[in-house]
């Protein structure tokens, strides 16, 4: 029934032309009839008729053998398994159920029937449900893909090839490559990346969903692991920018206070089952180890997702992007090898640019992307088109386990964006995040740097004080003794021995730590040898470049006004 007919029917009831019962009958009569199972009607026949009527609507889908529906909750569209109780009324949106009844003279008539939960359950388990379109995920924006060797844009609705449902229409325009590249680069100009390689990986992170969801990258893609030196540096914000470019938001998975890893697993499973394409493990503290996630990152077929009070659903990992943010990313070797680590420094005292897409200030870069989303996505598609047009080239960089991803994005960042090689500085970062000692030393170096104490030799007890002041946890100290100087010093000494061995210097991230032995005077005026540690910056910080020359005509940047740090 169209909006017009529905409005007319409601109006007619309101002014008394027809009664509500007749209105309901009019509405119901618009739907095709389905005879409920029973008597001569088998379950499979009835279910076939039901699902044949529902399938073209593309509102109910089949996911791992389960009937699911698209729902919207708090502005977020997600997939939900259809339960029998809900199915009773949901099916009525598509058909009207009838059952045969005999009149006194023996004639069979069909009368309306409300199906029971048991009947709904029979429908939900009937084989005919396979008539519904299979679904693997959702997207809130068009999809760029390749069909018969040519670029093809899937604008809206269900795409049977990728099994993705595009839930919103976004108008894609042709953007000249130069303008697209400048616009995308400009999105990151306020970020202080630790190295140029980190900047390249940030660009890669923005492009990866388009390439992966569109099937240009067949193999796995790494998790976007954002790491910052301090809180409020913008690591999570950058990841939200990526989701915003695809007209979406991140499904945030956080570790519940009262739960262990199980809580994370459940949150992760829920996001997967809901079909949320951007899943963010936000502000992870301490060592991040999620066995399920490690298998997910390399799963070639399907992955069993499980949410609280739900059965296991096999999901397709290729329809998701994983993001992890932390101030000191520390993880297992396996997950480190499956991450793309992007490090940023907090820009203390820096006023972020106010973006004014329509001449009116609304917020920071993320808000700008939200406002100008069709244009930003058009820029991403322009880059993908260019790469495709040039024969889908790759470099031969093999410094990441996910080589296909690495080589494609390395080519794009170097040749289209004229940026640094993708993997520059990444191996060291991977090694460090997989090594708790190195992660600790990086955090300590950042704390010393914050207090302008780089280049000064310190003894372990003095380093402990810095750790205490900045809340840096020393690996190996029991949680209940982390404030005990003696235990901390012992753990610190052991840690340094592990790191240095027989050498006198160690490199961690962009820092060099040197060890020296000097005689110090004890309480009873006799001297003894003691180790001193000096932290220095090996690589000078990669300062953000000045403003890129703007090639964006559709948006203008407001004057640098102090309207608060958007991060």
């Amino acid at each position: 029934m169209s909006d017009q007919t529905e409005a007319l029917t409601n109006f007619a009831v309101k002014v008394g032309i027809i009664d509500p019962e007749t209105a309901e009958q009019i509405k119901a009569n618009q739907k095709p009839p389905v005879i409920v199972p029973g008597g001569v009607t088998s379950i499979s026949e009835s279910a076939e008729k039901l699902y044949r009527e529902i399938a073209p609507s593309e509102q109910l889908f089949l996911r791992d053998g389960n009937v699911c529906q698209l729902i919207e909750s708090d502005g977020v569209r997600k997939l939900e398994l259809l339960k029998p109780a809900a199915a009773c009324s949901r099916f009525e949106d598509f058909v009207r159920f009838l059952k045969p009844a005999k009149t006194k003279d023996g004639t069979t008539l069909f009368v309306p029937e409300v199906i029971s939960k048991e009947t709904a359950e029979k429908y939900l388990t009937a084989g005919a449900k396979s008539l519904l379109p299979p679904i693997e995920g959702l997207l809130r924006c068009p999809l760029i893909t390749e069909r018969h060797g040519k670029i093809h844009i899937v604008s809206e609705g269900y795409d049977p090839t990728t099994k993705l449902l595009i839930t919103e229409t976004v108008k894609i325009t042709d953007v000249p490559l130069v303008e697209a590249v400048e616009t995308l680069k400009r999105l990151f100009q306020d970020f202080h990346f630790q190295t140029p390689g980190d900047g390249s990986r940030a660009i890669a992170s923005l492009l990866t969903p388009a390439l992966k969801f569109g099937g240009f990258i067949k193999g796995p893609i790494p998790a976007d692991a954002a790491e910052a030196d301090q809180s409020q540096a913008g690591k999570g914000y950058r990841q939200q920018m990526t989701a915003a470019a695809y007209n979406d938001t991140c499904a945030v998975v956080t570790k519940p206070e009262t739960s262990g890893v199980g809580g994370l697993e459940e949150g992760f499973g829920t996001a997967l089952i809901e079909g949320r394409p951007f899943i963010q493990f936000d502000n992870i503290r301490g060592k991040f180890s999620l066995q399920g996630l490690e298998s997910f990152m390399t799963a070639t077929g399907t992955f069993p997702a499980r949410a609280a009070y739900s059965k296991i659903i096999q999901v397709d990992p290729s329809k998701f992007t994983i993001m992890i943010s932390s101030n000191g990313y520390q993880t297992t070797v396996d997950l480190a090898n499956r991450s793309s680590i992007i490090r940023i420094y907090k820009r203390t005292g820096y006023t972020f640019k106010a973006w004014a897409p329509r001449g009116e200030y609304r917020g920071g870069i993320r808000e700008f992307i939200q406002d100008a989303q069709p244009f930003i996505l058009s820029c991403v598609f322009a880059v993908v088109r260019e790469w495709h047009q040039r024969g889908k080239p790759r470099t031969n960089d093999n410094r990441h386990d996910f080589r296909e991803w690495c080589q494609i994005l390395d080519w794009i960042t170097q040749n289209i964006f004229k940026a640094a090689p993708l993997m520059d500085g990444h191996e060291a970062a991977q090694e460090r995040v997989a090594n708790p000692d190195h992660t600790f030393l990086r955090s300590l170096a950042l704390a010393l740097s914050k207090h302008y104490k780089l280049g000064v030799p310190y003894r372990p007890n003095e380093l402990f004080e810095v750790c205490e002041e900045d809340g840096v946890y020393i690996p190996g100290v029991p949680k209940d003794k982390m404030h005990e100087e003696k235990d901390a010093n012992t753990a610190l000494g052991k840690l340094m021995k592990r790191v240095f061995g027989d050498t006198q210097s160690a490199e961690v991230d962009v820092y060099t730590i040197t060890r020296s032995k000097e005689k110090v005077e004890g309480n009873s005026h006799h001297t003894y040898p003691a180790f001193f540690y000096t932290f220095n910056l090996t690589t000078p910080p990669h300062e953000p470049q000045g403003e890129h020359s703007s090639a964006v005509s559709s948006c203008k940047k407001a004057d640098e006004v102090d309207k608060g740090d958007p991060l």
């Binding site: 029934m1 169209s2 909006d3 017009q4 007919t5 409005a7 007319l8 029917t9 109006f11 007619a12 002014v15 008394g16 032309i17 027809i18 007749t22 009958q25 009019i26 509405k27 009569n29 618009q30 095709p32 009839p33 005879i35 008597g39 001569v40 009607t41 088998s42 026949e45 008729k49 009838l98 045969p100 023996g106 004639t107 069979t108 008539l109 069909f110």
Partner: protein
Amino acid sequence: MPIIKPSREFEGSDVSSDASSLGCYAEYVAALNWGPGERDQSAWNAFLRAGSLGIDGETAAKIVTDYIHTVGGTFSPAKIRSQIRRAYEHVGSKNDAPGFICKAPKTEFSADKLKSMAAKVPGVHPELLQALSPVATDAVSSAQFLEHLYKPGEKVVVFVHYESQGQLLYEVGAPTSPTLPEGGPCGVWFLVNPVDGQFHPNPRQADKQSRRSEESVTSWRYLVLESDVAETNEWLSCLVQLPLKIAAIYTSGGKSIHALVRIDAVSKKQWDHERDAMKHIVVTLGADANAMTAVRLSRLPATRRGEATQHLLYLDPDPDGTPIISKGTTRNPS
């Protein structure tokens, strides 16, 4: 063709074969598509099946007509009788078509409901409607009327003789389109939905060549509401209150007033669905149910019917469903 499984009751063999045949038949009828546009074919199939199962014509007719009634459809008793006779002859069964079939009760015009609704907005007259029209109606010619309501390249068949294939094919936006007739003894009509201008066989009339049947329609855009029973001002009072996308209102050159409602259906089936849902309401207010067909001819405004003029009263090329009276402003308050 749906597959009918044997009745489980029949397998028990304690039910008479007549009852089981009836069960099978009822099941078969239920599996047929009784949606708009499909009922004729389904009724024919149902009677073929009834004949082959040896079910008497009266019972078959009752089941079929009850079914049509249940889904909100209508039927012609004569046609049902004819279908039964032909179907039973076809399968070699005894021709026992029923002598009488009760037609399903149809929605009826209610003068009380019309009056009651008209009283809510009294005093709506043609001049007021012309003042409320988004497009000034007095200067609109018949060609401009078509140019406003159809897209460039679309073709509209125009008639001076009602029972013909149309005297003229008007192509919107084409500089070479023929001049529209200024009038005719009985008036000038146009087919409300655009056509391709070609002749097609009409399977519902023994494949007679036609350019005004549904095979020629290119867009299921409009539906005509007209009333022969409602008093003019009451009918207008109702029309201005209805939340319908009324694109135009014009006189017939006689007593009747036609309203062109925008439907924008994607298919004939959908158009029929919309019509069926609306019919219950508008017929109660006086609309002519027989005029609500997708290939309806309607009066072309700004032409003459004998000495009278078919006046254009209201023209909104882009209606949004807001009741005319709720739009609140007159184009020309004077």
